[in-house]
């Protein structure tokens, strides 16, 4: 792994000591944090370390809704993917949109396709589905028929 990536990983663990790091290979790192930490983690990576939020992936798993924020460290071509788990019955998480404009559409897409609630998002209107799409119907959930 490149020096910069190791340094960032160390700094990250000093700031968020409870985070679990999993190294998939030289250029792909996965870090698990709790959902309360997400906003601070994003602020640290974007404001202080200038990483780019590439996209976020939402996954409906057995344990709950997993959200992966893919941050790209472009200078060294490494992806830092921040993982967090939301409970099935109440999928709520603090929105990153007030902090980072790019998160606006990313969260809107996830909200309408997976039904995650982003607290503090300025505009959670449906973006991609048609106007007459039924509410509370989320195509990427496992129970969607």
């Amino acid at each position: 792994m490149k020096q910069e990536a190791i340094k960032l990983q160390e700094e990250f663990l000093v700031k968020f000591p409870k985070a679990k790091v999993f190294k998939h290979n030289e250029r792909r790192l996965y870090i698990s944090v709790t959902k309360e930490q997400i906003f601070d983690v994003a602020a640290f990576l974007y404001k202080e370390k200038h990483l780019r939020l590439s996209i976020a992936t939402g996954i409906d798993t057995r344990e709950g809704f997993e959200i992966l924020y893919h941050f790209s460290y472009d200078k060294i071509g490494t992806y830092f993917t921040i993982k967090t788990l939301l409970p099935k019955d109440n999928p709520k998480i603090k929105s990153l949109a007030p902090l980072y404009t790019a998160a606006n559409w990313i969260e809107r897409e996830m909200h309408e396709l997976l039904g995650i609630d982003f607290e503090g998002h300025p505009n959670l209107k449906p973006l991609l589905t048609s106007d007459d799409w039924p509410e509370e119907k989320y195509p990427l959930r496992r129970d969607y028929e």
Partner: protein, 393 residues
């Protein structure tokens, strides 16, 4: 505000002939606000991909977009290869690079033609599309198709480049280079074009960072990012080429990035043809190990991102797709503000938006597809009959 008006562009774009809706809020001639709405043609690729096997998905994601129809399958196979640590033979890496760069040339020429068309300069349009045709002919020769090349598969590529094709490719490249050179000079020297493009639709560096834009849109605003340099996939780390970027952020800078990238692409293909080793073009892959992987490729419009999670079966649990236009289109919210309506259409097109990349869903109701392909066809005939009754006589 008494003189505030709304000018709708879309939902069927008058020039790009694609479905999207831009609501321009104007005061007199000046644009003071923009609302973007998508969703007229969302096809649900992520949903469909969760029901398909790893062999089928490259053909599915290829159809996300007809223009970058190599970038999506490439990013997907890279994601699967990343998840399951699959090695790819060197010759296949070079073939992937060649196809990827040919695609870039054809896409950039396509954009240039459209940009010319937008500012009413149809000569540029005719020129650019005429020489783009040479690239499509090359595609037909190498892959068998003008679009939807179906070259990528997990573990390698599906077709080899034959030795007798190499001189033909080189000859076509020389012609493309001469012609592109000719009209690059013609365009960049033309005072009318410069007047329309310079200092128009400026996306500042800070805005580009905030909106996390990618590709030529970012590179024209002074952000030097390119997946081919930062995280080299295929054979890019074995080749000598330059990343093109400018600081101005206006439409002219975006045009210059794309034009100059065509020459870099030609340079890359020439080196690939020279350096390409003999050998197998694919590794046999029997099963995909459980795991997760990220694949990224530099499409003509920017970074394509695919995330795949596998559980060891032949169907992925989750396949996330992020096309570059998803990040780029929204940056128009700031890039058109303060310019005139006449410039707005050009600004909106300057990110080279690809609406089909951004929309990926089919209409479902109560678990059933609302319209079958046949019904859609019938609806389309009905509409044509209504619009042009004389055609039906």
């Amino acid at each position: 505000m008494s003189n505030r008006r709304i000018v709708p562009i879309g939902p069927y774009h008058p020039l790009q002939e694609e479905p999207e809706f831009f609501k321009l809020i104007v005061e007199g001639e000046k644009v003071i606000g923009l609302e973007i709405n998508l969703g007229y043609n969302h096809r649900g690729h992520e949903f469909i991909a969760q029901k398909m096997t790893y062999e089928q998905i490259p053909y599915l994601v290829e159809r996300i977009c007809g223009i970058c129809s190599n970038s999506h399958p490439l990013a997907f196979v890279l994601a699967v290869e990343d998840a399951a640590a699959i090695e790819v033979p060197e010759r296949a890496q070079y073939i992937r690079t060649i196809i990827h760069e040919l695609e870039r040339i054809h896409s950039h020429l396509l954009w240039l033609g459209l940009a010319g068309h937008f500012i009413g300069y149809n000569t540029v349009w005719m020129w650019a599309w005429r020489y783009r045709e040479l690239v499509l002919d090359l595609f037909e020769m190498i892959t068998g198709n003008r679009n939807h090349y179906a070259m990528n598969k997990v573990g390698g590529v599906r077709r080899d480049i034959l030795p007798e094709q190499i001189p033909l490719i080189e000859k076509a490249l020389t012609e493309i280079e001469t012609k592109t050179n000719m009209f690059t000079k013609a365009i960049l020297d033309d005072p009318v074009i410069l007047a329309r493009l310079e200092n128009v639709g400026v996306l500042t560096k800070q805005a580009a960072i905030d909106y996390a834009v990618v590709g030529p849109t970012a590179r024209a605003s002074g952000i030097a990012i390119d997946v081919r340099k930062d995280d080299p996939h295929c054979a890019y780390d074995k080749i000598d080429w330059n990343m093109i970027y400018f600081d101005e952020g206006d439409v002219l800078a975006k045009a210059k990035v794309r034009l100059l990238e065509c020459f870099e692409s030609i340079k890359i293909i020439r080196q690939c043809l020279k350096q390409m080793p003999q050998g197998p073009i694919e590794n046999r892959v029997d099963e995909i190990a459980p795991g997760e992987g990220i694949g990224r490729a530099e499409a003509p419009r920017g970074e394509v991102f695919h995330y795949v999670r596998s559980d060891g079966t032949n169907i992925p649990i989750r396949h996330k797709i992020r096309a570059p236009s998803f990040m780029n289109i929204v940056s128009n919210e700031v890039a058109v503000i303060g310019y005139s309506i006449a410039d707005a259409a050009l600004c909106l097109a300057a990110v080279d938006p690809c609406y089909c990349c951004t929309e990926r869903m089919a209409a479902f109701e109560d678990g059933k597809e609302r319209y079958t392909g046949k019904q859609l066809l019938e609806l389309s005939w009905e509409k044509t009959n209504k619009m042009f009754p004389h055609l039906n006589k």
